[in-house]
Every structure is written in structure tokens, then in C-alpha cells.
């Protein structure tokens, strides 16, 4: 969890294991440790290790593995009609610092049709009017998903925020914020993306197996954005020679 004392704070809680699971973890942890201590054989050390982890999970309500998979069984879905229900989608925050004027960075991003050039998972974005746009993204196994989005906040050189309109295949929302870095070290660009994947949280886990990892995609996208803004194009080795047949 990040507490940044400038009015914004991350809302992710370290507790991501539900109460029933915590009890089961506590009991299982104790049993495993006792078994491990009783039977001094090949399996006793791994049993103690696993038992300790379960105990930790039960006692703290935090599972590092759930964190990794962005799963959370501690919060139930709120029924309110928002684009992304509270704490139930994929939530990605990535930041990068770029040496370029804040105006240039904002302008590039405000033309949403530029985004597929830097965000590898986007096939295309077509601007419909000042507010609305049509997005096509690549999905696992060669499929694609499409949705319409609208800009919900636009303060020049500061922030752009968008969200999908009703009945989108993937309910999603995002924002990009621009802030001068200290002592003229460029501009801090922070992107927040939230979405509910097609098949729920399992969909994300599967997507990771296919390499379509949203946090990585966003980080890679920001690196490409920085390359375009600092050196004028995306740095590549695609198409170079090798001895591979």
C-alpha cells in the first residue's frame, strides 16, 4: 500500500484473504507445522515451510500469491452501476519520468489515436467526436475485444480520464496524469487502468499465461511512450539479422 501525502492515495488494502479462508489457513498451518515436526523425513522441512506460510496468511489476511494474481476474496462486489465495480477488476498503476515539455506529452496522449502506437495490446482507437472514441484491443488466443469510451475529465497539461460507456465487452476506465518532476528532471507521467476481464479474475490468471499481462503491458507501453517523446521513435530490434532459420 502506498500512502502519498499529497491528496492522492492508493486504495489497495493488504488484506486480500476472506475471513473463512483465514480460519482454514490458520488451522492448516498449525497442522502442517506439527506434522513436519513430528515426522522427521524428506517432507518435514517443506511441510514446516508451507505451514508457516499458511499461518502467516491466516494471521495477517494477506496472501502474496493473491497479490501476484491480483485476486481478492476479502471484498464483496458492490452492486452500484460504475464502469469498474469497486476492487473487483484489474487495477494497474504505472509511472515513468520523461524529458519533454508537459504540453508535448499531454498533446500526444490527448490524441487517443496515437495510443496503439505505444500500447502493444491496442489494435486501434478511432476518435468519434470530442468526447467519444472506439477502441479495439487484442485479447488472448488471437481474439479481439471492442468498446466505446468517453472522456470524463480533461484538464490540459494535467489529466485526461476516460471510461467505457455502458454495455462494453470489457468494462474499463483509465487516466493519465502529468506532473513536473523535482528540479527540472522532466515530467512524471502516471497511468491508472482498471478493467474487468471477460471471464473474471480467472481470465486474468489465464491471460498471464498467454503473456498478456496488464501491468507489464502498461509498463512496456510507458517505456515506448518515453522513447517516442525523447528519441522520436520506438527503439526496436524487430527485423534484424540472426542465424535463426
Amino acid at each position: 500500500m502506498i500512502n502519498e501525502f499529497n491528496g492522492t492515495s492508493s486504495n489497495s488494502s493488504p488484506v486480500n484473504v476472506g475471513p473463512d479462508e483465514r480460519t482454514i489457513s490458520l488451522v492448516a498451518g498449525v497442522v502442517l507445522i506439527l506434522l513436519g515436526l513430528a515426522k522427521r523425513n524428506l517432507w518435514s522441512l517443506p511441510a514446516i515451510a508451507l505451514g508457516t506460510k499458511m499461518l502467516y496468511r491466516g494471521a495477517t489476511g494477506h496472501s502474496p500469491i493473491y497479490s501476484l494474481l491480483k485476486l481478492n476474496t476479502a471484498v464483496s462486489t458492490h452492486p452500484e452501476a460504475v464502469s469498474v465495480p469497486h476492487q473487483q477488476g484489474v487495477h494497474v498503476v504505472k509511472a515513468i519520468t520523461i524529458q519533454r515539455s508537459i504540453e508535448d506529452l499531454y498533446q500526444y496522449w490527448r490524441n487517443l489515436e496515437n495510443l496503439p502506437h505505444i500500447m502493444g495490446h491496442l489494435e486501434s482507437v478511432k476518435v468519434i467526436d470530442v468526447q467519444r472514441s472506439h477502441w479495439v484491443a487484442k485479447a488472448p488466443a488471437g481474439l479481439s475485444v471492442e468498446w466505446d469510451a468517453e472522456i470524463v475529465n480533461d484538464i490540459p497539461n494535467e489529466v485526461i480520464a476516460w471510461r467505457s460507456v455502458e454495455n462494453a465487452q470489457i468494462a474499463n476506465a483509465g487516466s493519465v496524469r502529468f506532473k513536473p518532476a523535482p528540479n527540472n528532471r522532466g515530467v512524471e507521467v502516471k497511468v491508472t487502468l482498471e478493467y474487468v476481464p471477460p471471464a473474471g479474475n480467472i481470465g486474468v490468471a489465464i491471460a498471464k499465461l498467454f503473456g498478456e499481462e496488464p501491468a507489464q503491458q502498461t509498463a512496456d507501453g510507458l517505456r515506448r511512450f518515453k522513447q517516442v517523446m525523447e528519441v522520436g521513435e520506438v527503439t526496436t530490434i524487430e527485423g534484424q539479422s540472426s542465424g535463426r532459420k
Partner: protein, 389 residues
Amino acid sequence: MRAVTWQGPNKVTVENVPDPTLLNQHDAIIKVRLTSICGSDLHLYDGFVPSMLPGDIIGHEFMGEVVAIGKSVRKLKIGDRVVVSSIIGCGKCWFCEQALWSLCDNSNPNNGLEAMYGYTTSGIFGYSHLFGGYAGSHAEYIRVPFADQVAFVVPENLSDEQTLFVSDAFPTGYQAALFCDIHPGDTVAVWGAGAVGLFAMRSAYMLGAEKVIAIDRFPERLEHARVNGHAVATLDYTETDVIDALKELTGGRGPDSCIDAVGMEAHAGGLPGMYDKVKQSMRVETDRPHVLRQAIQACRKGGTFSIIGVYAGLVDKLNMGAAFNKGLTFRMGQMHGPSLIPDLLGRVERGEIDPSFAITHRMSLEQASEGYETFKHKNEQCLRVVFQP
């Protein structure tokens, strides 16, 4: 064109591959005139650097002639004879502006290092996909990205052989000496009398060192240290207690600075040597840290430890207490080539050093496999193999 490709541990082959083309606007294509095998290429050859793919073209130390330039190349012209920094930097990001070129934000197209190191560092020619996956220089032609930043025109009166090592070995040794923050009267101890170690010794003198002491185990390399590194004393670590000897040679104070020009595949005798060799071969420990351990012990109180030999990952059993309580300063990293090369070319031109002393073997590309084996096993007193494609 013909190119040397990595096929797996201890296996390189020479293949016909497509000629390189301009991929980015800031690229140039260089016809390679000379390229050498560097000690760090042996880490690839031995299979200790992850993310190598069979078919990758290797090699990162080279000089040659510009035969094509991209649209946004301004300084270089076709026909220029250039020496190229093995480390690739964009010249535009904050790190390049601070002359920390090997930490460039934009020259590595692959972000895989973030998972291993927290942040991704610069691209390096022919040095695995984690370091950008750029095709290397053991080939007839090579694509050079950010050409205006990393390629430097060679003065006409200097030969190809005199300038080749300004690409990598000389700036790497010079960087090691810079890390030492040398003061008048300083003694610098250098572990490893390969080309980089030898250039570190000469660079230490250029930056004001009083005495240089060399540590290695091969008689011919210790002789190089005396003749070409100008070392005032040489130590064979298989015969001498290095820490005692260094004390004796420095009036009991210890060297003011220690340079590790060996890196992750250091050799050591006895039980500790066996221990690290077994762990490294089982991939439990990626790097063998003998030089680190010895230098931390040997360095004088408040001294500087400069690490220029390559490390890739995890090491075991470092005496952090010694480093801490003696108040050592650690400086380390890949060299920042483009900020060093113009000065080093000047030093070669003024006759302060002739780097071609490091060449012991001249071969054609077709002899690549023989070249790697000769260099790896230091056969025929090999110090450096140079290919003329």
C-alpha cells in the same frame, strides 16, 4: 553476410545470415574492419548469461566503416572510419545527460531486466536479449542504433589496430580507474591482468596513481602487467597470500583502491573455490565472487573498491561486516563509453598509450570456433583474439 552465431554453451558457428538493414532513423550500418573477443563474451560462451537464443550474433567490441545512415543521423557520413562504444545510449534521457550512458533509459528495447534488477539498463551489442538483443559485431556488417551518439570518427593517422580497443576494453579499464577517485600517492591493486585489467592499470597512472600492483595466475599475463600495465609488483595468487603481500607492499596500510577486473567467473583454489564452482554449475549461485571476497579484505580502511569485471546475479558469503566497518566505498558498473571515447582517442593520438599491445591472435571470422577456444583456455599465451571479417 557471414556472422558468428551463438548456438549454446561452448558452441559458436559461422553462418550465412541476411545483411543488416536500417531499422530506426538514428541507425547506421557499419562494415566491420576489426572485432575482438572480450572476456565478457566468455560469460555468454560458457552459458552463464541468461536469455541467449541459438542463432544470436555475438560480439560487442569493434571498429569499421560507415556504409549507410538513417534519416536522422546528422554527424556521421558514409565512408567515415569509426570506433563504436559497446554500450548503447540514446543521448537524450536523463541518465545519458548525466554521462551515465550504460544506464540509458531508451536504448534497451527489452524490459526483462526490470524483473531481475528493479530497473532496465542500457542495450549492449551482442549481449543477450536482456541487454536488448542487438545483433553483434562478429560479422561482416552490423547495425548501430543511435549512431551519432555511439560511433566516433577515428583520427586518420591512427591504425585500425590502435583504435579497436577504444570501443570497449580501454574505456572499461579507464572507467574502473575513474571509479577509484585516485589521489596523488595512491596505490591501486588490480585483480585480473587481461586486456581490461591492463588498461585499468595504465589508466590508473593516467589519473595520478603512484603505484599499481597486479594480481593474476598466468605468468605471461603477469609479464604483460609489468611490461604493458607498468605494474611495480605482480602477485601470483596461487603461490602468494595476496592479502599479506599487499600489506607488505604498502607499508601495512593496504591498497588505497582495489579494482576487480575479473568478475563472475573468478577462479580460486581450495574448499571455497570448489564450493562456488559447484553452486554455480547447479545454478544455485550465478556468480563466483572470489575477487570480491579477497579485495574487501585487502583494501585499506576507508579505501575504494572498484568493480568492473561483470557480475550477473547472486553471490554468496561476502564479508559485509568487513566492508562496513572499514568504511569502504564501492563503485561499480558497466562503463559509460560515449562520455569517455573522445578523450581516450585523444590519448592514443598523443601517444600516451598504444592499445594494440593487447592483440596476440589475428584470425578470420571463419576461425571463430578456434578463436573462442584459444581465448577461453588462454592457449598459446592468448591475451586477445581479433577477427578481421
